[in-house]
């Protein structure tokens, strides 16, 4: 038990003094925080506060101005580290079938054929798309496409999963469904997840930890543990209280 506790405390992502400027515009201002291994961290903040800039710095789409991002103690590099990224909107490849899309990340990493087939089958089943494996993205609905993206990300068995408002464009019912799916997958795989959203309810529903960012130039306002047991009830008084606390943090500066 004690060993497990210690393992859980292992730091997966260490962000220290991360600063990003676009020209003279300071977007990220000296951000430092740690993400524990196996955590599900929800990052909330006002719209346009640089949440996406933060993720893009993490995945080296942008070079950071100063500071560093360490993954298991090394500078993060998407070519070497298994980082998966799910973002808002459809990012499935229209020329591949559902099955080929799920296998895409495995093909990129040259995973042996048998293992690839097993992983693909498994995650197709988990997101409930086995029946649609031979369909092309054009034949699917928005929520099914997002499930393809989720299966594609999880199939690579990432050490770190980054999600950038993945459910922003979905209607509320589908969002609830996919949020539950994410929690289930996260519990099953123990992947470290950083989930960015502007939806406070979503953050409180999903997060083990919730990190609130300030307006530009962005700094960390507060990071809190979310002690609510799962499955969470969005109408429960404790849930509402926590949600209001986060809302207040965003409202006040």
């Amino acid at each position: 038990m004690e060993i497990r506790e210690k393992e859980n405390r292992q730091v997966k992502v260490k962000v220290s003094h991360l600063t990003k400027k676009f020209g003279d515009l300071l977007v990220l201002n000296d951000i430092s925080f740690d993400v524990e291994k196996g955590d599900l961290l929800c990052v909330v903040g006002p719209t346009g506060c640089g949440k996406t800039t933060f993720l893009n710095s993490l995945t080296k789409i942008y070079d950071v101005t100063s500071g560093e991002i360490l993954l298991d103690g090394h500078p993060a590099d998407p070519k070497k580290d298994h980082i998966a990224y799910i973002f808002q909107g459809n990012s499935t490849m229209p020329w591949l079938t559902v099955e080929q899309n799920v296998a895409f990340g495995l093909d990129i990493r040259h995973v042996p054929k048998r293992e690839k087939q097993e992983l693909t089958d498994r995650y197709l089943e988990i997101v409930g798309l086995t029946k649609y494996r031979r369909y092309y993205p054009k034949q699917l609905s928005a929520s099914m496409l997002q499930r393809v993206s989720i299966a594609r990300a999880f199939a690579t068995e990432p050490e770190l999963l980054l999600m950038d408002e993945p459910y922003g464009q979905l209607d509320i019912e589908l969002r609830f469904k996919l949020e539950d799916e994410l929690v289930r997958l996260w519990e099953m795989t123990g992947t470290t997840v950083i989930f960015i959203t502007h939806n406070i309810e979503e953050a409180v529903y999903l997060g083990e930890h919730i990190m609130v960012l300030t307006n530009k130039p962005t700094t960390v306002k507060e990071t809190m543990r979310n002690p609510l047991p799962r499955p969470r009830d969005i109408a429960a008084p404790e849930f509402v209280r926590l949600r209001e606390r986060v809302t207040d943090l965003i409202r006040w500066w």
């Binding site: 070519k79 990224y85 973002f87 990012s91 490849m93 895409f104 990129i108």
Partner: protein, 260 residues
């Protein structure tokens, strides 16, 4: 209306429209015009009579058609291959684009038949020259479309692939190439009709066989039936080519159809 009924209706309409055209043609050439223009019956008769059996010049119609087709295919595929490689490279690499696009922009607007005189002087108007002209016709359209296809790849696809760990080579072959296929096919289709037009022009200038030769020889002998037969064959082969092309495209671009 189900699919079968729809197909039958379409077929009936096609037959009616072609028959009406033939009847109007038949009636139209009854009077004064008949001296300048043969009716449809002699033309169709000649087409089938010469298809495998009788000859125009020293060859049957099918041999003439094959001559034209082989010239087209040689130049077309050569041009398509070079065009796809050059176009994708231009869309993929800023450097390649900067080097080749100014040259390409000047060469592209020159119609292939403008090269006929110079190719006669350089290489004589033998097979090489004809294939060279068809190559130009194919190459320009395919390059242009492959180029714009590769340049307009949705950045989200590239981002997603990069996130999954794709290197530069993998991005090119797993994202840029397949994403450009619809655009490349659009170029291939235009290129095919352009090649078909060019082979006729080249054959009309100099050759001793092929569909273009049939028309020119008909003109030189004042044989209107032969000219019209040649034109009929050109139309039919052109139609067949684009039908085959669309079948191939539907096969290879299945994912690009919307709905199920």
């Amino acid at each position: 209306m189900n699919k079968k009924q729809k197909n039958i209706t379409e077929l009936i309409c096609a037959v009616v429209s072609i028959l009406t055209f033939l009847i109007l043609w038949h009636i139209g050439v009854k009077g004064e015009l008949g001296r300048l223009m043969p009716g449809p019956l002699p033309v169709i008769r000649m087409f089938f009579a010469t298809l495998f059996g009788g000859t125009i010049g020293s060859r049957t119609m099918i041999i003439h058609i094959l001559y034209s087709l082989i010239r087209v295919m040689a130049g077309y595929f050569l041009g398509a291959a070079v065009g796809v490689v050059l176009g994708l490279s231009m869309g993929w690499s800023r450097l390649v684009e900067a080097v080749f696009s100014p040259l390409f922009r000047i060469i592209r607007p020159i119609p292939p038949i403008a090269w006929i005189p110079i190719s006669i002087i350089w290489i004589g108007l033998g097979e090489d020259a004809k294939i060279f002209l068809i190559f130009l016709a194919s190459f320009c359209y395919v390059t242009l479309n492959a180029w714009s296809g590769a340049k307009n790849v949705d950045p989200d696809y590239l981002r997603a692939a990069r996130m999954l760990g794709a290197g530069k080579r993998q991005l090119l072959f797993t994202i840029v190439l397949p994403a450009s296929i619809p655009s490349i096919f659009a170029g291939l289709q235009v290129a095919l009709s352009s090649c078909w037009a060019t082979v006729l022009a080249a054959e009309m200038v100099r050759s001793s066989e092929g569909l273009g030769w049939i028309i020119i020889a008909g003109m030189n002998n004042n044989d209107m039936v032969q000219i019209m037969t040649g034109i009929l064959a050109i139309g039919l082969v052109g139609m067949l080519l684009s039908m085959i092309f669309r079948k191939v495209e539907a096969r290879l671009c299945q994912w690009n159809k919307s709905g199920s």
